[in-house]
Amino acid sequence: MSAAPSGGLRIANLTMSIRNLPILEGVDLHVPTGAITGLAGESGSGKSITALTVVGLQPSDAEVSGVIEHHGQNLLGLRARAMNRLRGKEIAMVFQDPTSAFHPLLSIGTQLTDHARHHLSLSRREARERALALLDRVQVPDPEDALRRYPHQFSGGQLQRVAIASALMCEPSILILDEPTTALDVTVQAGILRLLRGLSDDLGLATLLITHDLAVLSAVADTVTVMRRGRVVETGSRFDVLTRPQHPYTRELIDSLPNRVPRPDHGERDLIDATGESDGR
C-alpha cells in the first residue's frame, strides 16, 4: 500500500438537486486505498451520479454541496482546469459499455497512450511500453497486435479489460467502475472480477465498484454501501451487510436474488428457490 492515507476518497454529506428536484441527500461514503468499496442500488438510486460527481461530470445545472475529500482537498470546490488535471490521471473511471467508451476510428494504441502522454509527458515509446505492460497485466492476449487493432475487433470482455488498462495508464490512486460487468456474460464477468481483485491487491488502489448486483459485490468487495433514492441506507463490511443486513431495503434486495443463502435470522429457508414453488409441480 503505497499511497498516503488521504489517497483514498472521503465523501461527506454529498447533497445534490437539479432544478429543485432532490437527487442525492447527505451521502457519506469512504473509499479507502487498498480495498474495493462496493456501492449497490437499483436504477435511480443515485449511485452512478455520485461517481460522476467525484470526477466532476455531474449535470451542469446540478446544485451540489458537501465534501469530496481527496489528498486533503475538496474536489467539489475545484476549478475546471484543476479537475481536468486530476481526471484520467489521479482518478480514473471505467463505464458499463466498453464499446461506447472508445473512439471507433482510432486504434487502441492511440487511445491508450494519448492521455498518458498528455498527463505524464511521456515520450511515444515510453507510453507504448507502459501500454504493453498494462495490456499484459489485464491479460489481453497478444498486446503488440492489440495496440494496432481497433475497438470493433475486440470482444466485449476484452474491450473492458482494455478500458481498465487505459484507466490505469497514469497510475491513478482512485479507480471508479460503474457497472463494469453488467453488460458481460457470466464467465467473462468472472474473469474481470478476478482481475479487479488482483489489481486492487497488487496496486493498492482505492477502488469504487458500482453495481446493482449484490452477488458481484459479495465476490469482490471489501465493504458494501447500499443506496436508495439518493440516500445511503446501509454501510458495512461485505460479510455483515450480506449476511446480517440491518435495513429492510437491503434485506429486500438480497432476498430478490436468485441465489440466496440461509441467513441466521431467517431460520429455515430454501437455499435456492426451486421451480416447484410457484406451480406446485
Binding site: E42, S43, G156, D185, V186, T187, V188, Q189, A190, G191, L193, R194, R197, H212, D213, L214, A215, V216, L217, S218, A219, V220, A221, D222, R238, F239, D240, V241, L242, T243, E252, L253, I254, S256, L257, P258, N259, R260, V261, I272, D273, A274, T275, S278, D279, R281
Partner: protein, 258 residues
C-alpha cells in the same frame, strides 16, 4: 389445442462482409412440449437469439425442419404473418425498444387483442395479470419504469393468446432485484394460460428458478439438456460446469467465481 415446437437438425448460417461466414445455429434439435418451460442458456454469440428469431420467422432455417403444432415455420414475408404462426409470440430484451413510444399502451394492447378475436381478455385483465394498474392503459411507455415496460410487453404478447412464448433475454436489462420477479411472472402468466415458454438467458441462476428443463447452447449447438435440477446439480458437460462455476453467490464470503 396445445401445440409442440419441434426443431430437427436446423441450421442458420450468416454471410458477413469481409469476414468468414458465421454458423449461428449448427444442426440443432430442440423440442418444447405444450405447457413446458424450457430454459435456453448460453453466452453471447452462441446463437440463442438467432434461434429465437428464426422460430418467430424473422430468420430463415437453412437445413432441417421446424414445425409448430405440425405447421411448418415459414419466414416472415412482406405479407401478414400467417394466422397459424400467430400463437408464437416473443418478449424482447430491451424494454425501451419493444413498445411504440408514440402510442398509449392501451392501444398497443388492443392491437394485440385484435389478433386474437376469439378468446381475448380485456386490456384491464391483461394489465392486472402482469401487476400493472389497469388505469394506466392511457399512459405512454416513457411514463413507466423499465421493469414495468417489460411487464407490459409480456401482457402484449399474452394478449394474442399465444401457445408458445419466447423470452429473448427478457430480464437482462433489468436490475438484479427485479430479474427473479419478472422471470417468475413470465412463467406464472404463461402457465396459467397453458402457454409453453422458451426462456432464453445467459443467466443460469435465473433460468433455474423458472424452467422445467434446461438446454445449454454453445457455438450453435446444444451441449447439454435435461431436467433443471439435474443440469444444475450434476452437469455433464464441461461448458455447463464452467457456467455454473462462474455464477457469483451473494453469501458475503468474498469467493471469486470462476
Amino acid at each position: 389445442m396445445a401445440a409442440e415446437l419441434v426443431l430437427t437438425d436446423v441450421s442458420i448460417r450468416y454471410k458477413r462482409h469481409g469476414h468468414r461466414d458465421v454458423q449461428a445455429v449448427d444442426h440443432l434439435d430442440l423440442r418444447v412440449a405444450p405447457g413446458e418451460v424450457v430454459g435456453l442458456v448460453g453466452e453471447s454469440g452462441c446463437g440463442k437469439s438467432t434461434l429465437a428469431r428464426a422460430i418467430c420467422g424473422l430468420e430463415r432455417f437453412q437445413t432441417g425442419t421446424a414445425t409448430f403444432g405440425g405447421t411448418p415455420i415459414v419466414p416472415l414475408s412482406l405479407r401478414r404473418r400467417p394466422a397459424s404462426l400467430l400463437p408464437i409470440q416473443m418478449v424482447f430484451q430491451n424494454p425501451n425498444a419493444s413498445l411504440n413510444p408514440r402510442r398509449r399502451i392501451g392501444s398497443q394492447l388492443e392491437d394485440a387483442r385484435a389478433a386474437n378475436p376469439v378468446d381475448a381478455r380485456s386490456v384491464a385483465e391483461l394489465l392486472s395479470e402482469v401487476e400493472i394498474d389497469p388505469s394506466a392503459a392511457a399512459l405512454y411507455p416513457h411514463q413507466f419504469s423499465g421493469g414495468q415496460r417489460q411487464r407490459i410487453a409480456i401482457a402484449r404478447a399474452m394478449a394474442v393468446g399465444p401457445q408458445l412464448l419466447i423470452g429473448d433475454e427478457p430480464i437482462a436489462s433489468l436490475d438484479a432485484s427485479l430479474q427473479a420477479k419478472v422471470a417468475r411472472l413470465v412463467r406464472d402468466v404463461a402457465l396459467r394460460s397453458h402457454t409453453s415458454v422458451l426462456f432464453i438467458s445467459h443467466d443460469l441462476s435465473i433460468v433455474r428458478l423458472v424452467a422445467d428443463r434446461i438446454a445449454v447452447m454453445k457455438d450453435g449447438r446444444i451441449v447439454e439438456e435435461g431436467p433443471t435440477e439435474d443440469v444444475w446439480n450434476q452437469p455433464q458437460d464441461d461448458y455447463t460446469r464452467r457456467l455454473l462455476a462462474a455464477i457469483p453467490v451473494a453469501d458475503g464470503l468474498g469467493r471469486l467465481p470462476g
